[in-house]
């Protein structure tokens, strides 16, 4: 289907362009406050998510090499039966501290319900 081929193109493209992102997406802090280069590790992200979702499997990809822009993929039984938007809200809530204090600048999220 045409739309699916567009999607595949799009997924291939987004990673290539990721490093050009000049700004964080978190809405509770101003852009000028996100300039500091505080970093967060995979282990930190995994711990924050598992505090909220103990059975979560967490994959991260540091997409800019600066340890503050991550692709995060989470698999958990807690997502079962929940709308996609709510699944993402659960992860944003779990990561809110790190996003607010600037350790985590921006995330690209993917969630999957454990089968």
């Amino acid at each position: 289907m045409l739309l699916q081929s567009i999607y595949i193109y799009f997924i291939g493209k987004r990673h290539a362009e990721a490093s050009t992102c000049p700004c964080g997406t978190w809405e509770t802090i101003r852009d000028t406050e996100t300039k500091s280069r505080i970093m967060i590790t995979h282990e930190d992200i995994e711990r924050l998510i598992r505090t909220a979702l103990p059975d979560a499997r967490v994959q991260t990809y540091d997409r800019t090499g600066t340890s503050d822009h991550y692709n995060v993929t989470v698999t958990s039984s807690a997502f079962s039966g929940k709308p996609l938007l709510d699944q993402h809200r659960m992860i944003y809530a779990a990561l809110s501290e790190a996003l607010k204090d600037g350790r985590l600048h921006a995330v690209e999220l993917k969630t999957e319900a454990e089968k």
């Binding site: 999607y7 799009f10 997406t25 809405e27 996609l84 938007l85």
Partner: protein
């Protein structure tokens, strides 16, 4: 948030079948995620509007409260909030997005089609 601001947002959402609140404009996006969202809807091929809220903290806060979604960009289709490309991507893959957009443009004045 003020009722005026909320009403203003609701009017904008009602006015545009596909509406992106982002950082920067279509011609000059100021965030990689906003650019990515513009690319996404350019590929989809239906008319969409991008409204720049980068410099409007009160409106950003109102939008965050209305959607319970902490990041920009924020995408509305047919008056309903659908998240960002992290959630629209899976919707495109599953075919749901195509249905949502077809419903949005199911008006005799608009030709419903793909691409």
């Amino acid at each position: 948030m003020t009722q005026d601001l909320k009403q203003n947002i609701q009017d904008e959402i009602a006015e545009h079948k596909i509406l992106v609140y982002g950082k920067g404009t279509k011609q000059a996006p100021r965030c990689g995620f906003t650019l990515e969202t513009i690319d996404f809807f350019n590929q989809i091929g239906f008319p969409f509007e991008v409204l720049d809220v980068l410099g409007n903290d009160a409106k950003r806060q109102a939008l965050t409260e209305m959607t319970n979604w902490p990041t920009l960009p924020k995408v509305f289709i047919n008056g309903k909030f659908y998240g960002d490309t992290d959630t629209l991507g899976p919707m495109l893959e599953s075919g749901e997005l195509e249905r949502v957009i077809a419903d949005a443009f199911a008006d005799p004045k608009h030709k419903v089609g793909r691409g």
